[in-house]
């Protein structure tokens, strides 16, 4: 029949077109033999302007295309980068950085101290509206400039000459060097900014003083970087092209890795973790990071206001081992402190009940619960709020059942969208217990402890303790690092004893790294600079 014949013709031609399309499968490596590294970002960076960036992912890309005075080695140690050496005054209030003379921008211009000054001034300039403007809070006049009371030229940074940078502080800041690895402190090429204005960070405009240059940013898809031949350490940079693929779904990321399109992943899906562990044992990298998952109490409202015994009861009744083994199950560590273990120069004190068995904790929890005035006839009823997500829900369900079983307390689970939860946590009007997390910005206990001072905007539980604030202030005045550590540990001990939060577990970084990649070292900050990596020539 003519119709059936027509139909057949169409089907066959469609099949032919498909075959043609399939055979046009472009190859991954260009024929000129350049090495290309395909990495994954779980979220799109909001900006590649060093002072306007905010997210962890933006910082990951920025560390490839820029460089600060200091940086981290592959194993997570602080090393000299833009600065070849530095002197610290005896009172700890003045730092003199000596820049490397061979530093160059990607157009060949030398990187000079004025470029660093320009970047730092831009960071505190209210017009830039930089998120990390408070990073330099201890630099002379920084706070006043951010508040708009002084001009940016008053900032306590000075270019003594082309290769010498002076930084003046109002108080000794032992972790200053860690702060100076952050992309918000990266230098900016003054001439480029004059020429392009705020568009200086676009692909094609952006001058790089790092190992790679930004060649293309296709929003929603890929960020492509090419080698910067003018980088001072270019001869030790192995990979020619770095492609940061933006992959928001963990399953899609795993599929791409398995198909060979990605060399490294940013995460591992929780659902088939056991299977992945079995199949890719030597490619799976799980390492502790500076992040804590916790449930916070709203200390401004009953029933948890002024009720440390009740808070302690709730904290003790949770079996954290069961949570990390059965619920999250990706190698997380149960949390018995606020600051994660492995933080530089710090030994976190433990919660008072850390050494007890879970049965002993349960018994103590029950007696504290009764002491607070609750019982089976009069159970505690409250809301546990968390952001809508499968993982959060599973943990909340587990904890809810533990509280019910051990104490008889009734927690009502409420899930809201992430932004809504943030809003509610800040307003403190309806939250009672809420789920939150905190990640360290730098490798020092201060990044975790500072937020629990009464004046911190990130103090979600609204914890106020004068003794704690005093200890923190004293710690920040110490020049001797060991003495400082003692004060910080004492402060954390105080904080833990008040049970303002229930730390549940510490985050781990989880990545799949292809066997073709060398130079990947697990470190607590989870920084993996592309310039430290290389691909085997056999691929």
């Amino acid at each position: 029949m003519k119709l059936i014949r027509l139909l057949l013709v169409i089907v066959v031609s469609l099949a032919a077109i498909s075959l043609l399309v399939v055979s046009c499968n472009g190859s991954q490596q260009p024929p000129d033999g350049r090495s290309i590294l395909n990495r994954a970002l779980s979220t799109e960076p909001e900006s590649l302007d060093p002072q306007k960036s905010r997210s962890v992912q933006a910082a990951d890309v920025l560390r490839d295309i820029g460089e600060g005075l200091v940086a981290y080695s592959a194993s997570g140690e602080l090393i000299a980068a833009g600065a070849v050496s530095w002197d610290v005054a005896d009172d700890g209030l003045t730092y003199t950085f000596h820049l490397r003379p061979e530093l160059r921008w990607s157009n060949g211009d030398p990187v000079i101290a004025q470029d660093f000054v320009f970047g730092l001034r831009r960071l505190v300039d209210p017009a830039t509206a930089a998120f990390y403007a408070a990073e330099l809070g201890s630099v002379v006049n920084a706070a006043a400039i951010v508040a708009g009371d002084m001009s940016t030229t008053e900032l306590g940074v000075e270019a003594v000459d082309d290769h010498t940078l002076l930084v003046s502080l109002v108080r000794p800041t032992p972790y200053l060097l860690s702060l100076l690895t952050h992309p918000s402190t990266f230098p900016v090429h003054g001439g480029s900014f004059e020429q392009h204005g705020d568009a200086f960070a676009r692909a094609g405009n952006l001058l790089s003083n790092g190992a790679y240059v930004l060649v293309e940013w296709s929003p929603g898809s890929i960020i492509e970087l090419h080698r910067n031949p003018h980088y001072w350490n270019n001869e030790n940079t192995a990979i020619d092209v770095v492609r940061h693929h933006i992959v928001t779904q963990e399953m899609a990321e795993l599929n791409r890795y398995r198909a060979g399109e990605l060399h490294t992943t940013s995460s591992v899906p929780p659902d088939n973790f056991a299977q992945i562990k079995a199949e890719y044992a030597d490619q799976l990298h799980i390492a502790p990071t500076l992040g804590v998952y916790y449930y916070g109490f709203n200390l401004t409202r009953p029933p948890f206001k002024d009720n440390p015994a009740l808070r302690q009861a709730l904290s003790m009744a949770i079996d954290r081992e069961v949570l990390v083994e059965k619920i999250t199950g990706r190698g997380e560590a149960p949390a018995y402190s606020w600051v994660p273990p492995g933080t530089n120069n710090y030994e976190p004190p433990q919660l008072s009940f850390a050494d007890l068995s879970q049965d002993e904790r349960n018994a103590l929890a029950r007696s504290l619960y009764k002491e607070a005035g609750y019982s089976d006839e009069k159970p505690l009823r409250f809301e546990l709020r968390y952001n809508t997500s499968d993982t959060q829900r599973r943990i909340a369900l587990a904890v809810q059942s533990m509280w019910r079983e051990i104490l008889g307390a009734e927690a009502r689970l409420v899930n809201v969208e992430f932004q809504v939860l943030l809003d509610q946590m800040r307003e403190r009007e309806i939250t009672e217990v809420f789920r939150s997390s905190w990640f360290g910005d730098y490798n020092d206990a201060n990044t975790f402890l500072a937020i629990m001072q009464s004046d911190s905007a990130a103090n979600m539980p609204a914890y106020t303790n004068d003794h704690y604030d005093t200890l923190m202030a004293t710690a920040s005045d110490q020049l001797d690092l060991d003495r400082r550590r003692l004060y910080l540990e004492e402060a954390e001990r105080d904080f833990l004893a008040d049970h303002a939060v229930i730390p549940l577990y510490f985050y781990v970084s989880k990545s799949l790294v292809s066997p073709e990649v060398s130079g990947w070292e697990d470190n607590i900050l989870n920084y993996h600079y592309s310039q430290h990596l290389s691909l085997d020539a056999t691929e």
Partner: protein, 307 residues
């Protein structure tokens, strides 16, 4: 027809204005702002950010500022992609969604109509049942199940096709996303074609044509197909709009930088300008597509034209 078109286009302006006002109010009514984050900012920095983006102005002033920009073709800067303007982002992502959408629609109409015709001609035969069974599967299984299964099979196991948009530079990266987008549409189009063709084939004028001795192929091509296509055409208007503006699920799974994922990202990040820009764009697109469908109706069905 020209006057009709102009009248329709002019009538679209108040509609779009209403859309902008509603979208603006809704977007600002959602709790949370574009710069909220776990890392709560100190008060002075928040103030600086609010001032830089005019978020500290009263709402009506922000609206007028926005409207003034729209009239000049400036949809504002994006809050979540701080280095780009909204016009740039839409300008980059729409062509990709368009390419995928056009291919998907072409595939869907060709295969859908063909299978619908075959099923109608072989009504109630085993072939008909098998074809409609496949169509049912296409409608019932959601895209977020089909797409990953296709990826697992063709990209991971067989390694014939790339698993993502960036996995290849060639046109092979189009195949899986287009098929995933087209499959549910094929199903709907096939069922619609079959039903409406059966309906048309039982009408009097077809019986007359048969009595005059015309063959089935000729009847279908010259007499039955056009009227049978009317319900399909009605379906295609909104379907094309939906497919063109990108299925978010397909874009997320394949990592395609299309309009759909831009919209969702913007909504979740409370990126007011981006969301408003995409909403205005969608609304204009739907208005235009509905107009085209109405004009096509007139072209296909002379009964409507004579009105």
């Amino acid at each position: 027809m020209l006057r009709y078109t102009l009248r329709r286009l002019l009538g679209a302006i108040p509609t779009l204005l209403l859309v902008i006002v509603l979208a603006f109010l809704l977007v600002h009514a959602a709790p949370g702002g574009p710069f909220d984050d776990q890392r709560v900012l100190p008060a002075e920095i928040e103030a600086n950010i609010a001032a830089a983006y005019h978020l500290d102005e009263p709402l009506h002033q922000q609206f007028l500022r926005y409207l003034g920009g729209v009239v000049r073709g400036d949809f504002g800067p994006s809050y979540s992609y701080r280095d780009y303007t909204v016009s740039e982002l839409i300008g980059r992502s729409f062509p990709i969604s368009l390419q995928l959408g056009v291919l998907a629609i072409l595939l869907a109409t060709t295969i859908g109509v063909m299978t619908g015709i075959v099923a109608a001609l072989r009504q109630n035969s085993p072939l008909d049942k098998v074809v409609m069974g496949f169509a049912m599967t296409g409608i019932s299984i959601p895209v977020f199940v089909i797409a990953p299964v296709l990826v697992l099979f063709f990209a991971v196991k067989l390694q014939w096709l790339p698993a993502s948009w960036t996995g290849s530079q060639g046109s092979s990266r189009l195949l899986l996303p287009v098929v995933s987008l087209a499959l549910p549409q094929i199903a709907y189009v096939a069922r619609l074609t079959r039903a409406s063709l059966i309906d048309v084939l039982s009408s009097d004028f077809i019986r007359t044509a048969r009595a005059q001795g015309l063959g089935t192929a000729t009847i279908i091509r010259y007499h039955a197909l056009k009227p049978a296509m009317l319900p399909v055409l009605s379906y295609m208007g909104p379907a094309v709009a939906a497919v063109l503006t990108g299925s978010v699920v397909v874009e997320e799974i394949f990592g395609i930088p299309g309009l759909g994922q831009l919209f969702v990202r913007g909504s979740l990040n409370r990126d007011y300008t981006l969301v408003l820009g995409v909403v205005v764009f969608y609304a204009s697109l739907i208005v235009a597509l509905n107009l085209i469908v109405d004009l096509l109706y007139g072209a296909i069905d002379p009964r409507i034209r004579r009105r």
